[in-house]
Symmetry: C2
């Protein structure tokens, strides 16, 4: 079975639920995911898709819903986490370096853990340096590379690709052109990959 | 176990998935739902929560997602259905008459079926007359009552109550003050009702 493309932005709140369970989920279901960071904020601004800003009732619900489901999944979480991220682009540029170098999954898990458990915003220090150190990467070297034109342009190109595929939010799973948006649709995406349709649990 | 409050507006698209499966789900899980129509549009406009208008990519995804899940649930659907409804308020005023008279569930199922399967917008004729006739109600009598000050004010009062509970979208399940938004959260609401926490399937 081909890997499922997992499009995500560090900066998305619900993406926490997916990032923290995906490594184990992949093993348990014997399915590979292709971790593809992009800049969801650019796409959402373009499409006037502003789910939480100036929406206090919906925002409060979002945190409560994530807390309940984090508990269901057995994940630690200290909520609400700092939001929105000031350095969303940089957080995902670092992830793209990781994708090119083979440590994107480990970095993404660690930076989300520091953000959602320890309250340190992803994309800014001390989160960036600490998450990179934890996975054995040199922060100075990675930050240099993450801000290079190659990576800045690379993230923009990947964001263009995501947009062309119909991705408008994070997390999104894409299986043979079918788009599945949200942590809630992980099972649907896997079902589509296996059977070409969505089958209930 | 106390019934779970099921707050909904005829006019919401995802609510189709809940309305069509809830009667059977309630029996299968031996749990009662208290069907409570309200005017979600008023609350969404107040809260500047505009999920689909002028958002073609997200709208196209919404219909595709509903189609996939309707198929998963074994529901017929001819999509996209006419949207948005011109007569959302009236559709839910009729539902409130049905709530007072004991036929709210049957009417809601029939009006959604005519809307999502036969392409006839809820709240307008021929949908209104046909759905009422199918459940043995006289359209002229019901329409008179649905437009009476008692019912118009009653729907506004129920909408105020929903807002006070933290309801911001449809469908929403409320269990002892806990709010669960979306067809995707039906199991979570039942879990909360039974165990006071969300337990995975």
């Amino acid at each position: 079975m081909k890997p499922i493309d997992f499009w995500y932005s560090i900066g998305s709140t619900y993406t926490y639920l997916t990032v923290m369970r995906l490594p184990e989920y992949a093993k348990a279901n014997d399915i590979a995911f292709n971790w593809r960071p992009f800049n969801v904020r650019d796409i959402m601004i373009e499409q006037n898709n502003i789910p939480f800003k100036d929406k206090p009732v919906k925002s409060a619900y979002m945190w409560r819903d994530i807390a309940r489901r984090a508990e269901m999944y057995g994940m630690a979480a200290s909520l609400p986490a700092p939001y929105p991220l000031k350095e969303l682009a940089l957080a995902n540029q670092i992830a793209l370096v990781g994708r090119n170098e083979g440590w994107v999954q480990d970095y993404t898990v660690e930076t989300y853990r520091l953000w959602f458990v320890d309250g340190l915003p992803a994309g800014s220090d001390p989160n960036v340096s600490e998450s990179l150190r934890r996975i054995g990467q040199d922060p100075e070297r990675v930050l240099d590379r993450a801000q290079s034109p190659e990576i800045v342009n690379g993230l923009a190109a990947d964001t263009d690709l995501a947009r062309d595929l119909g991705v408008f939010g994070s997390p999104t799973f894409v299986v043979e052109g079918e788009v599945f948006w949200g942590d809630d649709r992980l099972d649907d995406a896997v079902s589509w990959s296996r059977r070409g349709r969505v089958v209930g649990g």
